[in-house]
Symmetry: D2
Subunit: 264 residues, 4 copies
Amino acid sequence: MRFNKVVLFSKPRQPQVARVALEIRAWLESKGAQTTEGEADLAVVLGGDGTLLAAVRSLGERQIPILAINHGGLGFLTEVTLDEMYRAIDRVLAGEFVSDLRMMMDVTVDHDGTRIGSHRALNDAVINKGILARIIELEARVDEQYVSSFRSDGLIISTPTGSTAYNLSAGGPIIHPSMNAMVVTPICSHTLTNRPIVLPADVRISITLKSIQDEVHLTVDGQVGLPLNPGDRVMIERSPVVVQLIAPCDKNYFDVLRGKLKWG
Amino acid sequence: MRFNKVVLFSKPRQPQVARVALEIRAWLESKGAQTTEGEADLAVVLGGDGTLLAAVRSLGERQIPILAINHGGLGFLTEVTLDEMYRAIDRVLAGEFVSDLRMMMDVTVDHDGTRIGSHRALNDAVINKGILARIIELEARVDEQYVSSFRSDGLIISTPTGSTAYNLSAGGPIIHPSMNAMVVTPICSHTLTNRPIVLPADVRISITLKSIQDEVHLTVDGQVGLPLNPGDRVMIERSPVVVQLIAPCDKNYFDVLRGKLKWG
Amino acid sequence: MRFNKVVLFSKPRQPQVARVALEIRAWLESKGAQTTEGEADLAVVLGGDGTLLAAVRSLGERQIPILAINHGGLGFLTEVTLDEMYRAIDRVLAGEFVSDLRMMMDVTVDHDGTRIGSHRALNDAVINKGILARIIELEARVDEQYVSSFRSDGLIISTPTGSTAYNLSAGGPIIHPSMNAMVVTPICSHTLTNRPIVLPADVRISITLKSIQDEVHLTVDGQVGLPLNPGDRVMIERSPVVVQLIAPCDKNYFDVLRGKLKWG
Amino acid sequence: MRFNKVVLFSKPRQPQVARVALEIRAWLESKGAQTTEGEADLAVVLGGDGTLLAAVRSLGERQIPILAINHGGLGFLTEVTLDEMYRAIDRVLAGEFVSDLRMMMDVTVDHDGTRIGSHRALNDAVINKGILARIIELEARVDEQYVSSFRSDGLIISTPTGSTAYNLSAGGPIIHPSMNAMVVTPICSHTLTNRPIVLPADVRISITLKSIQDEVHLTVDGQVGLPLNPGDRVMIERSPVVVQLIAPCDKNYFDVLRGKLKWG
């Protein structure tokens, strides 16, 4: 068998999901796979994109292959449906699967030259103004080259995987997940000519908070919040760690896109 | 003389502005106009659009004519420059001016049928998610007709005057200030087909907060913040009160627009 | 009976539509209504929005009430379905209906002071570059006030009714059909800060073609084409003629919008 | 000397440009460089982006280094100004320059399996409807995977270099010129959820014309027009040929961007 030890992540606080998780656990064990809370060689995720993002964060440096099963959400990432899940698990355990590697970003925050935060993002890093601030000013640099001072509600720095999430709502483009790229998209830019910029993934983006009047936060994959102060610098670069999504067969990326965005 | 008692509003906490304000006060008095903190028949505003919005709020029900002098900002509303100000004051005192009437909106908030807030807006009412919330759900009705459930970062309900402010950054249209209209513009809508909707000003817009997970605020003209709770209902309708902006001569609205938006 | 003479318009060159048209004709006559090619007091339209636009143009100055039945299209205007049509006709003949009045625009073209074209629009007037031209320059004025020189693929001047048609595809807002308004929306503007402008319907918009290098056309309601030459001036103002759409019951405008735009 | 034979391209039909071109020719010869109409090892381009695009097309397979001097346009590509040109030529001839490699696309057209056209693009390939057509339908595939049927005014397939041209006007993102990427951007899409898609440059994009009612054209770099018929298939892939732009010193891409787009 291709995988022996399986760790299961499921959407918390939902009795229905917990019930399905128990069924998956039983099925895995009936197939001879051991479920574990510790070192595993396969992760099974049950939930939506948020659950997957949490599982990826939880796996940290050790990104084992992930089989993601959609439960009740609109996931771009969790393609296997409940109907398909037993067959999908069987095939994956038998080694019949395709891999889809997704780049991640390492997001670090410096204050006066001291590292005050460090996170990994599969989707995006978002720097966002507080509710009462009207506009914040963020200076963006790419490999130390000055790009622009963005006066806006904030900035999204997104991976290709995250391009169909918040980035899309803010007017950013769809980026094919096989690309090594990051996109910087302003949120409600005051300067109307500030538009999304797609960058190669081998640059280092750094964002410095210039304005001083109000609260500003960094969120990473929508799940981690860090307050920022004037002069704080957020640096974003491609992570050496990649996520390996696996599925029993190659779901066409564009099929997923058409379905989610209700094209045609 | 057309006006006798003048109230002066100026941008707070700026020594330079305070100095110019003193000069204006002296000039007004040398011309025989009395400056007052009380009942006045003319308001002179010195600052940017924010100062004007604060002055309008301070005047409340009794909207006397306002001469707005721009100091150091990008104001759409404060068209008279420092260079022009003495001549502008002289002409206005002499009754040589044109008026520009701007509609306002009355914004009220109900919780369980009890009025918990009431504000007047010259620019906009904004319902906005807190930093850590990813998406909020707001149900919009127009004269009790169901419009849509907006899943987004929030909604802007703007007057024509406010259409060139936050509304424009969020993708809304420019609306000529002579119109009786309101525009409902979603902020980073999750549903990509939710687009700005321009409505006649004689309808009543009501927005109900549906989602329950995170903090949501109402801000009016960028200056008043009110936390909203699930079930709270924000109602917006045209105010019987209008703002009367006056200037020594009819500045063409489109000239202002071209200048501010750097057209051509 | 409320209506006695009925003129029927149907989508041309479609045998299926022709068959339904015959059935409608028979039904009308069985009810005692006379169908005619001449003076009528009711029009029944069978087809999509294009068919309705053609019928409106054909009716000219004499806009009798129109009952529009949708056949096979995505019509915003043709709300009655085939299933509902007999009952709808019966109720309309019996005088049980609601009216929805829609403003139109009169579009005229001058060349060297000579009128060279005159059309009426329910949806929009579009000035568009030819395929090989990259950009055209159009100078817009509102009541003789200079607005801007638009460098773009063209301009759409739309009624509220037309706001959900081409205007929406080009980034313009939705405008409630009860409004007296026109919206000027640039098509692929070279100047990124040129944004849709909503104007009161009592102004006169005039557009002058400045560039000289390539073919430019005016189309009205997508159905009339007129080549424009440098110096030609297109004037658009509200028409004294209005369209009266009738339906057996008041279909909520927002219900139609939600359905067509797949909201929620 | 680094370069010996120089071919000069200049904007046609402009006496002023022709005069500057003569001066450049004299200067080159005074420096010992031979100007030629034939085989050359350096190209000097005088004009705007259009002149550069024409020069690149004229050079075909043999893309020698290009020094582009801006004359009177808004060029993103022609960065050296008239003031800087003599010094720029001297330094380039002396071998003191930096290179900026730009990917191109090969654009071919098939009709019933027969090749009917073949072009190379530095900026973009645009498939566009004729003036009177309202909407065309284009089926896009990426490496034979079905992407979507776009109902729109047309499609732009742009290189990173072309991303700041027509693509930007149509709502597409800015793409850093060092990237190997292509972006597919719909023009006035009827389906509001059809958004720009950034793809890796090693795919083959193929676009098939589905609709049959009206004229449709392919233009390449805004300079070549080819009528398309139903069933015609346009294929776009990265060209093995690249353009080598040279300049005496490394102009920061973001400096150019800020200047052209009037940021800040």
